[in-house]
Symmetry: C2
Subunit: 253 residues, 2 copies
Amino acid sequence: MQPIIILVEPQLVENIGMTARAMMNCGLTDLRLVDPRDPWPLHEVMEERMLAASSGADDILKKAQVFATLEEAIADLNYVYATTGRTHDMINRILTPRAAVPEMVERIAADQKVGVLFGRERTGLVNDQIVLANAKITIPLNPEFASLNLAQAVLLIGYEWYQAKDATPDRQLHTGSSRPATREEYMGFYKRLEDELDKGGFFVAKEMRPIMVRSLQNMLQRAEMTEQEVRTWHGVISALIGIPKLRKGNTTP
Amino acid sequence: MQPIIILVEPQLVENIGMTARAMMNCGLTDLRLVDPRDPWPLHEVMEERMLAASSGADDILKKAQVFATLEEAIADLNYVYATTGRTHDMINRILTPRAAVPEMVERIAADQKVGVLFGRERTGLVNDQIVLANAKITIPLNPEFASLNLAQAVLLIGYEWYQAKDATPDRQLHTGSSRPATREEYMGFYKRLEDELDKGGFFVAKEMRPIMVRSLQNMLQRAEMTEQEVRTWHGVISALIGIPKLRKGNTTP
């Protein structure tokens, strides 16, 4: 179960299509339309424009439900959020999307049907519509330029929804087909590098040697090398000291 | 200081305009373009299309810097993030936007110049471009439909940026010109309600009375009434029990 996205009096079919795309990006599938400007089902030309704007999110549009009034569109819902950028002279709970979404997740887990209202382009939701909702969501954005495209408002709510459900680690090291190097592989490389630098006369001031070794090691640690990369850097040293690279299949030096 | 948004080889001037709008929504102002498809400065017709799509974010577009190569565009930066939806066969740090942004905030506070790369429409960034960045950002989205419009990718990074800097409380009760009711005002109202319900014969089963009173109180608590609303509900009771409403200025019953 998911929050139901409800567009109230959408004016442009392109925006309905782009909303479907944003929903699909975020794994949302349930779309309701209240009194869209263009009569439903759409004229073929209009439908094509909507589908083009959806970039392939056709399924959502085909399953979309259309209602004549907002009251009918939300009749079966247990909790309704109204998105709005303006501070109305109304008494209401105002949530950020980041606070509202965990609440939605809990409500839905408790088998509540939850909907989120988005007003028409330019005007947004009006007071008579907002009062039908249980709470308001206001997206914190630049107060001097807060007007969002309809599909972008849907995207930001959907994005928060997806993040709340998603288990992607915040940080990961993608190592391709290789694996992170072991301590032993690092140590072997440091030893080799140190030996060859000794031979090349790198450590002129003997008393500086420990500090210089440590700072080289420190830099290489930060790089989080893979096993493959350690081998590549062994090859780099070999090349720099004049050992010719082995041809594949030729294992004698 | 802010992260610099860098569009690499953008193909459509409308997307450049919509990117500027999304940036302005999020309080970002620095835009760089690398080798845009349409030569810069734009032909008048193209410029009009871009400005129309920006919905008033002209300033960002007028100040935008254009570079022939990605190398030149990032030469003065200390840390560069590459946004990408695909898992490349490359070894790299991958961050979510939510993890990357606090890092950006720290870097910028330490006077580093930070940039975020966005690839061209359809293809995104290619490996030769990604390797010029220090880390990758991948936005967790529906893996079966992850392709975002260029401006929407910028919006999501900008949104996280704005949230990290913004101090809007997660939850607030907007009470308009009134103030939340005091405990005394609540208690006075409960007492009145109870008295009038007694008179009206509401509490038929005496042993149920404490439970019923408690559940009425509990519901009213949840509503978080303002002082004005408590007065309104006193008026509701008065009307229901047949006390005519006082005209303004007429204080005698």
